[in-house]
């Protein structure tokens, strides 16, 4: 009994002194509130993503002379007298309500200068609303729902491509394939599951058609997620004869479609997918050699490292610190944090309006990033307009970065060969 009380008092004292220490540090440090799911279903991914943000803060705070990223060589933020960045993490548990409450707490009680988050688009939606009301800048590196940057918010900025801009990458790819090709892609089909994700993808593809008048959409096939059989869907495709099929499908149907394509020897010039299903390990294990040649749009890949020393160095730091390979979502969150740090440094102040103005004036180029993008520059809605994609193709059973050509780790196989 008394032992328990003693332990309890000790714990209380420990917590109090901890608070004193952070209180003392906070006088110079610039506090950034990070909203991530740290418990619940996606806690693991939330932690991985937050770690990338911590790494970005450490790179800004420390002196990394060999790292060719803005703010890496100097310790802290030079324009703020070398002030350090302090990440104040909060767990939103994947709940939009908790996210909003935590955002309010971080701003009002912890006095953070800006917020970063939030993995789930639904949580980014509510927490950024709080930030907008309280007049604090909010940056998101991985919440993709298109409407987040269509709300006319002044304080919200997004570095990652939205669901909508991701669809554009397929057209960029096709346009490049068509350049000087004797057999250009003229017709495409969209095959998508009929929940919000798939529907939004199909709508986004349609919205880019006017910009690419050479390409015609010949079939738009929505299917019920969890369908036991896709024969009629594939028959429709065979009848429509598209040059390229664009897919938004989850694992289960990706396997089913690939098998049914083979059964009916349906071999368009390319089958390209958004989301990882057509290149996942489940997909590769299920299909063996038949998994080859499917193309998946990705944000980031470790295959980028050999051609970009910065990517290799950051990926190594991440692995060394957290014992885990970096992947696309942490890489994007890292980028958002670096962009925010750059803006705060240019603002030379922790005043929210000044940070906002600096964010809006952001102009980073490809070499300042670990992402395969042209740079970071926000439009009036706060959406980064210079995003780009890479395409990964399964070749000999392994995923390989094949596009863009100057970053490729293996040669793209296009058009895909007929089924054997």
């Amino acid at each position: 009994m008394s032992t328990i009380r003693r332990v309890f008092i000790k714990a209380l004292l420990g917590a109090a002194s901890g608070a004193l220490v952070t209180g003392a540090l906070a006088q110079e440090a610039v506090r950034i509130g990070a909203l991530y799911p740290l418990s619940g279903q996606v806690a693991k991914s939330g932690e991985d993503t937050l770690n990338a943000i911590r790494l970005a803060a450490d790179i800004v705070n420390g002196s990394f002379k060999d790292l060719a990223l803005p703010l890496a060589a100097t310790a802290g933020l030079p324009n703020l007298g070398g002030a350090k960045i302090e990440i104040v993490a909060a767990d939103h548990q994947g709940s939009p309500e908790t996210g909003a409450a935590e955002a309010e707490r971080l701003v009002v009680q912890r006095k953070v200068a800006a917020l970063i988050g939030a993995f789930h688009s639904s949580v980014a939606a509510t927490s950024s609303q709080v930030a907008e009301r309280l007049g604090v800048p909010y940056i998101s590196g991985e919440s993709e729902a298109t409407n987040l940057t269509e709300r006319g918010f002044k304080m919200f900025f997004r570095t990652t491509p939205s669901s909508k801009t991701q669809a554009r990458d397929f057209f960029t790819f096709i346009a490049q394939m068509n350049k000087g090709s004797a057999q250009p892609v003229r017709t495409i089909a969209v095959v998508h599951e009929n929940t919000l994700w798939g529907q939004e993808f199909a709508k986004s593809v349609e919205s880019y058609l006017p910009e690419y008048p050479d390409v015609k959409l010949v079939a738009n096939i929505a299917y019920q997620q969890g369908t036991p059989d896709v024969t009629s869907e594939v028959q429709k495709l065979i009848a429509a004869k598209p040059d390229v099929v664009l897919h938004a499908s989850y694992d289960n149907e990706a396997i089913l479609f690939a098998r049914t394509y083979k059964q009916f020897k349906f071999a368009p010039r390319g089958v390209m997918a958004i989301g990882a299903a057509f290149g996942s390990s489940a997909f590769r294990n299920a299909l063996g050699a038949d998994a080859n040649y499917f193309l998946v749009r990705e944000h980031w890949s470790r295959d980028l490292a050999p051609r970009a020393p910065v990517v290799a160095a950051v990926a190594k730091l991440y692995k060394d610190r957290y014992g885990k390979d970096m992947d696309g979502t942490p890489a994007r969150a890292f980028t958002a944090m670096m962009v925010l740090a750059d803006a705060i440094n240019r603002a030379g102040s922790t005043d929210p309006q000044k940070i906002r103005a600096a964010l809006a004036a952001t102009n980073l180029s490809a070499k300042d990033l670990i992402m395969p993008w042209a740079g970071v520059k926000f439009d009036a809605n706060g959406q980064n307009t210079l995003t780009g994609a890479i395409f990964v193709q399964t070749l000999e059973g392994a995923p390989k970065l094949v596009w863009p050509a100057d970053q490729a780790a293996a040669a793209l196989v296009w058009p895909r060969p007929a089924w054997r």
Binding site: I221, P228, S232, N252, Q263, A282, A286
Partner: protein, 288 residues
């Protein structure tokens, strides 16, 4: 629209239909014999698919070879479920029967998730992976095997239930448990037999299905809803009804998926079901 395409759609629809039928036969048998709806039927399918997948993964057993083995194992599984669970709620309120099999469904799903994770697993290559082509019409192996399997299973069950002594005992127990008992029929054994046969049928379906459909803890849901419709359409408890209704639904969903809309391909199926329920509540071949 070419005739070849139409023929292909018909053939594909038939193929899926036989798979639906094979799954539904076990469900309708259990219901027909003892008036218990097995809500865990989809999970029986899932268990059979995992069994078939694991046999392939561990020993390279082809799903087509695994069919009799999985069916036999599922027979034992069905009998076990009857003895351990269903027997205890027989004659109790409808609620306890529903919750018993519903609970089993939740339990089996959670158990599969615990043991195998939520990942999608699939048999890579099977004898059935091939396609037979006749006159430009593709007949996928798994569907051919299902046609054969479902036809044979229906015929066997029909003979068993209507042409053998065991079948007569089974039917006697299903018509009146008490009267059958006074005549020296062990109703418990008959019921266990029904569960065993029902599970074996869905076991055969699961093994066949695993040759082209990925397996995951919730895989049952994709098929069992259709199986319920098949049972209701064919007539509760009617074995050949399930076969006819399964084929009908397979054809309908393939044709509707092509000519109407993929995402609405099951709407005509459920519309037909509603029509049958309204106009002919006992289903096509029901005896109620």
């Amino acid at each position: 629209m070419s005739e070849q395409l139409f023929a292909q759609l018909l053939v594909s629809g038939l193929g899926m239909g036989f798979i639906f039928a094979l799954i539904a036969i076990g469900l309708t048998l259990i219901y027909g014999v003892m008036d218990v709806v097995n809500f865990a039927h989809g999970e029986f399918l899932m268990v059979a698919m995992y069994a078939s997948f694991l046999a392939w993964q561990a020993w390279g057993v082809d799903p087509i070879v695994a069919v009799p083995v999985v069916a036999a194992a599922m027979f034992a599984f069905g009998v076990g479920v009857y003895w351990l669970l269903v027997r205890r709620v027989l004659g109790k309120s409808m609620h306890s029967q529903i919750f018993a099999t519903f609970g089993l469904m939740v339990f089996l799903q959670a158990l599969a998730q615990f043991l195998f994770g939520a990942d999608y697993r699939a048999v890579q290559q099977s004898v059935l992976s091939g396609v037979v082509e006749i006159g430009g019409i593709a007949l996928p192996g798994p569907q051919l095997a299902s046609m054969a399997g479902a036809s044979v299973a229906t015929a066997l069950l029909y003979v068993l239930v209507f042409r053998t002594r065991t079948g007569r005992l089974l039917r006697a127990a299903s018509q009146d448990r008490v009267a059958a008992s006074t005549l020296g029929i062990d109703a418990d054994r008959m019921y266990a037999l029904a569960w065993g046969i029902g599970a074996a049928a869905v076991g055969a379906a699961g093994a066949l299905l695993s040759s082209f459909y990925p397996v995951f803890p919730r895989v049952g849901g994709a098929f069992v809803l259709v199986a319920y419709v098949v049972v209701a359409l064919g007539g509760f408890g009617s074995i050949h009804g399930a076969l006819v209704a399964g084929v009908l639904i397979g054809l309908l969903q393939t044709l509707a998926g092509f000519y109407v809309s993929s995402q609405l391909k099951f709407v005509p199926v459920y519309a037909l079901y509603l029509l049958v329920v309204l106009v002919r509540p006992r289903g096509l071949f029901g005896r109620i």
